[in-house]
């Protein structure tokens, strides 16, 4: 078997090699296309992560509130709903069903709908981690906050959440890496991210192995980068003398 990495320097219409490997004017090469696809993967993932963090932290916290059974139940229902439907089905729901049922959503681009799908899906997992992070704290911390005369908001803000966030950094790291991996499912609704690029370029060029290798390399590179960034955050946020055990996540 022979390699043909030249394929990345070909422009996507004429399939002629371009000297600099980057297209000029309006033309693009496969390399240009792949880098732009990587950009889509990164933007979908980061926006979905932002949405998932905001929703997940709020819902996860609400699920630990004392004396609020209705709120806790609603939070649990949210988590069960988004955890028990496959991501691909959820993406189809957002892409096909939501715009039909809610005419307001009709003009929204597919990219945004995928961000919503991925963000809501991941928010359920993050909510679960935030809940277990808060509940892993000794009960005395909550009581100490109450004894100081803090309001519920205050003892969450100043006592429970700062410790809980540090506990959940390791599972949050794997969840962030999961978001990048899960963004690949967006291929199903034609968002031109890396997996979509891999499928189309493979079809057009028949150099599947080279294309897949490059795309897989970019996914591994992204995962590694996140891992390093989160390790840095974990190190910066560490409280001397306070050791937390690492957790493991699914996929």
């Amino acid at each position: 078997m022979s390699w043909d990495w030249q394929v990345f320097c070909e422009d996507t219409i004429e399939r002629q090699p371009v000297e600099s490997c980057f297209g000029k004017g309006g033309d693009i090469t496969y390399l240009d296309w792949m880098l732009s696809a990587w950009g889509w993967t990164v933007s979908v993932s980061l926006l979905a992560l932002l949405l998932a963090l905001v929703l997940g932290i709020v819902i996860g916290t609400l699920r630990t509130l004392p004396d609020r059974p209705m709120v806790v139940r609603l939070g649990n229902a949210w988590v069960e709903l988004f955890r028990n439907i496959p991501l691909l089905v959820q993406i189809f729901l957002w892409y096909h069903v939501v715009p039909t049922m809610f005419p307001v959503m009709r003009g929204v681009p597919g990219f945004v709908l995928v961000v919503f799908a991925l963000g809501f899906f991941t928010s359920a997992r993050i909510a679960e981690q935030v809940r277990s992070g808060i509940q892993a704290l000794p009960r005395g911390q909550r009581y100490a906050g109450m004894a100081m005369g803090f309001t519920t908001f205050q003892y969450y803000r100043y006592v429970l959440l700062p410790m809980a966030f540090r506990i959940i950094i390791p599972p949050l790291t794997s969840e962030t890496m999961n978001i990048f991996k899960n963004s690949s499912v967006a291929f199903a609704v034609s968002v031109s991210e890396l997996t979509m690029f891999a499928m189309q370029a493979q079809e057009e060029t028949s150099r599947g192995i080279e294309v897949y290798l490059a795309v897989t390399g970019l996914y591994i590179l992204s995962a590694f980068a996140i891992n390093r960034i989160m390790a840095f955050i974990e190190k910066r946020a560490r409280i001397p003398g306070f050791v937390v055990a690492g957790g493991a996540g699914g996929h």
Partner: protein, 223 residues
């Protein structure tokens, strides 16, 4: 909100023609991949815990590699590579089965590794004191306990696996989601088809995770 839904096209004929075929494949894929994944995953875990570098390093590379690539890419890789390796084309369904066993082995190996490590050292020493070989010790002492301790986690992974089987969409294999989609397209009712698919997946996964939770409680009391 526009709720002009019509589920009346769902009748037994349609379900048995389109959906059941897909459901059968999804369930078969889940069961085969779970059993195969646990089998190869246990071997990978034993390789990683063997303390021998030539076994540990390849297993670690395999597990970490599989775990850092999206499942969709792994599905595409196998669909491309397996025919090249064996020299003849294979169907999407066969390719999906091979892929899921190979992919899930990496995840199950992490679970089994944690399970084996959760067994107190004394158990291994006790086995050795009785004159058991490594194989006997693993088979009769360590693995049964590890398997039992990890049963809820293994089953949770199976639920995730069942959800992930929908990703065979990428190579066009006929699973439950595909069944719903085809039915929806044939009857011009894609919206209802996707909603019904979501409801069925939810019901199955919710029921399974409820059962796992109950099992977890039962095991926790005995131990």
């Amino acid at each position: 909100m526009n709720l002009n839904l019509d589920f009346s096209f769902y009748n037994w004929d349609l379900i048995s023609n389109f959906v059941l075929k897909g459901l059968y494949f999804s369930v078969m894929l889940t069961v085969v991949a779970t059993l195969g994944g646990i089998f190869f995953g246990t071997i990978l875990a034993l390789m990683r815990l063997s303390g021998k570098k030539w076994l540990d390093v390849p297993a670690t590379i395999y597990v970490n590699g599989m775990r850092s690539i999206p499942l969709v890419m792994v599905i595409l890789w196998f669909f491309l590579l397996v025919p090249l390796l064996i020299g003849r084309p294979i169907g999407a369904e066969v390719s999906a089965v091979v892929t899921f066993i190979a992919f899930e082995a990496a995840y199950f190996s992490e679970i089994m590794r944690a399970g084996i490590q959760s067994i107190p050292r004394g158990q291994v020493f006790a086995g050795q004191a009785l004159g058991m070989s490594y194989g006997q010790n693993m088979k009769l002492v360590v693995l049964p306990q590890a398997f039992r301790n990890m049963l809820p986690v293994l089953l949770t992974q199976t639920i995730i696996l069942f959800q992930d089987t929908s990703l065979v969409y990428a190579i066009g294999a006929y699973d439950m989601l595909k069944g719903f989609e085809v039915a929806g397209k044939n009857f011009g009712r894609p919206i209802e088809a996707y909603l019904a698919a979501a409801v069925v997946y939810f019901a199955m996964c919710y029921l399974l995770s409820w059962l796992v939770k109950r099992l977890h409680k039962k095991i926790a009391i005995i131990r």
